[in-house]
Every structure is written in C-alpha cells, then in structure tokens.
Amino acid sequence: MSGIFEYNGGSIVGMKGKNCIAMACDRRFGQQMSTITTNYQKVFKIQDNILLALSGLNTDIHTFYALMEKEINLYNLKENRKMKPTTFANLVASALYERRFGPFFVTPIVAGLENGKPILATYDSIGCKSDLDDFQVGGTGGNYIYGACEAFFKPDMSPEELEEVIGQSLVSGCDRDALSGWGGVVYVLTEQKLTVKILKTKQT
C-alpha cells in the first residue's frame, strides 16, 4: 500500500477565468494497478453556481459528496435560500476538520460564481482552506498538471479559452500519471450555463 491517497488514483484541476470557472477531472476508478471502471464521476454540481471536485480515496469521495449534498439541501430548506459559494467553501473546511482525527481521505476543490465573481478554493484532507490562487490541482497526477497549468494559464480567460487550457492541462497530466486517465471531463460554469465536455486521454 503505497499510500491511501494513491490507492484509487485520479486527478482534478480547477481554474478561474473572466466571470467564469472551470473544473476538470479524469475518469479512472482503479484499485492500485487494476482499472475497475472508466466513467467514475469526481466533479459534482452542488448548486447551480457551485461545483465540487474531489480526489483521493473513492469511497470517501462518494461519502463526502453525499455529506455535502445533505448539508446544502438542509440549508436550502431551513434557511429558505441558496448557499453562497464562499459559505460553501467554508462549510467544506469545517466538515473536513470535524473529522480531524479520523479524516476523509480526499483533497477537494470548490469552484463557484458569486455575483459573477469566480471563487476557487482548495483544501488538504483536514480542512486547511486556500483560496489564493487562480488555479489549483489535486490527486495523483496533480504535480504533472501543475506544470502544464503554469505554462498555459493566463488570467481573465474567456470560457472557451479556459475550457481549452484546463482540458489540455488535465490531459497532459493524466497522460503522464499511471494512476489517472482513461478519459477526462471538463466543466465550464458561466452565469448563463454549465457546459460539460468529455475528452480523450491516452488509453492506458
């Protein structure tokens, strides 16, 4: 067991653009060297204007997502209003820290649009929030994606440019990482719509 975070493999990346945000993830669900399925969802739409991407141990990806769904649904019903992306970003940090001594083995990225303004936050597995950067990565292929991001990224990109850049960065990273890949999915969120695109990566 080379590491609990490496058991299932997988990579995610989030980027800010001009009044838009993008998230991308690979599609592999593996168990160490074996690939079980090539259509595992790792980016979730929490609300019309909030996306949550999760990488790490797949069982925790699923459970943590379900927990966040529950929280936001209860919030919507109790408070009779939608949750702001910055509020959700703080909620994720609290929820992770609540399990400080028995953590979820996930590294989430939250992306959203608050009054048109892009929000992006990333965390370690125990809830240390960082919302300072314009792009963030997570998962086993993270470092490889970083390299491509640094090269291609520029601030205030349009949704189309953003989709291209984040897609290319994800593909470059996943093609190098043995544990990530088997396809990619890119989500681009603007005030008007959410577009989802499936990409091809090296089929290994």
Binding site: K78, E79, T86, T87, N90, L91, S94
Partner: protein
C-alpha cells in the same frame, strides 16, 4: 432531572405553565421595538427598585452579535441565560459557515431551545418574552420570541406591563415609510405614554441599529437629547 414533564395539557387543551409564564411576562417592565425602513430601535424600561442600585450595572439590551441585539420582558435571569445561549448559537454558526447569521435563522434556532423547556422532563418554561432586533443582508428585522417557543416577525410591537396600550398607540402611529429617527421618537413617545413617573435618560435603555449593520446602545447623553426633542 425528572422523567416526567412538568408542562402537561389541561383537559381544555391548554398548557397552563406557558399561560403562567406569559403572566410573568405581562408583569415585567415594558419593552418596545419598532422596525423602520433603514433600521430597528429597541426601547426598554429600566426602573430600579431602590436608589441604592448601581444603575450602570443593569443592562437590559444584550448584544448577541455585531448586528443583532435583544431585550426582554419578564424574569431577568431567564433572559440572561437565553441571551448567552443565543450568543453561542451565533458563534456555532459562524464557526461552521464563517458567515453572518440571519436574524430569522437565529430566532428559529433560539426558539428551539425555548420550546424544549416546554416539553422536556423536569424543567419549567422560560419566563420571558424576547424582542430580537437586527439588520442583516435581507434588511431590518424585529422578532418576538415567546415562552411557548413561538416567534413572530413584527413591524412594531410592545411586551410587558404596558403591552396592550403601547400596541394600540403604535397601531395609530406606525407607518411603513418611517425612517429610523422617526422610529426612535415614536418608540420613546410610546414608552412615555404608559410610564409610571418621570422618564429620564437613566431609567430607560435605548438601542439602535441602522443600515451600517452595527448595533449601538445609546449613551444617556444621546437619550437625553431625544427625550428633550419629545417635549
């Protein structure tokens, strides 16, 4: 702690303990709240039973957070306990969401604690009605929370000894276009109406929140100015 509830239904379907709690509230010093377009004002009687009491140590308006405050009519110690619980609720929300709590949310959560006291074994209901005044993203709010756990949003209301007369007075004076300064004057006028004896800056407490979202308890010098304007 007993296993059985102290508050149980009468054959007529009433919860007498809650009615009695409301009686305790009706004996308490009057408190008035008015919601204006751009703020909320709370005014409360602070009559001391003896001139030997250190007036400055008595605080009837409690700050729950920067933009929400509360006052009461009824049993002082019960209010002290509830306002402390409310402050903890605010902080709990803050820790989880890092966001300013809405007045309605706080009212609902505090009401939960008040209702529990009408159903749990071995404890009595709280003997206070609370007026919560705050200004959040949604705007100004005035909420009344009763010993039963029921809470109501008001444009203007009064609780305590002079509640009935004060509300009748307010019904005539209130208008939806009121600005906060008008509201403060109207609140003081309403309190003065049923006041036993002379109203002074030290035997009442006035708290105001404006659209800057900051709650302020007015110092006696400012209260004096407002009272003089009423003449």
């Amino acid at each position: 702690m007993t296993d059985f509830a102290l508050t149980t239904f009468s054959s007529k379907g009433k919860l007498l303990q809650i009615e009695y709690a409301l009686n305790a509230v009706a004996k308490g010093d009057t408190a008035i709240g008015i919601k204006a377009k751009n703020g909320v004002v709370l005014v409360v009687e602070k009559k001391q039973s003896s001139i030997l009491i250190e007036e400055s140590s008595v605080q009837k308006i409690a700050l729950l957070t920067d933009n929400i405050a509360a006052t009461y009519a009824g049993l002082g110690p019960d209010f002290r306990v509830l306002s402390q619980q409310a402050r903890k609720l605010v902080k709990k929300y803050d820790l989880k969401y890092q966001e300013e709590i809405f007045v309605q949310t706080l009212s609902r959560e505090l009401a939960e604690d008040v209702q529990i006291a009408t159903q749990r074994g071995g404890i009595r209901p709280f003997g206070v009605s609370i007026l919560i005044a705050g200004y959040d993203e949604e705007g100004p709010h005035l909420v009344q929370l009763d010993p039963s756990g029921a809470y109501y949003s008001w444009k203007a209301t009064a609780i305590g000894k002079q509640a009935k007369n004060a509300k009748a007075f307010l019904e005539k004076r209130y208008n939806a276009d009121m600005e906060i300064e008008d509201a403060i004057n109207t609140a003081l006028l309403t309190l003065k109406e049923g006041f036993e004896g002379q109203i002074t800056p030290t035997n009442i407490e006035v708290g105001v929140i404006r659209d800057d979202h900051v709650y302020r308890i007015l110092p006696p010098s400012q209260v004096k100015d407002y009272l003089e304007e009423l003449e």
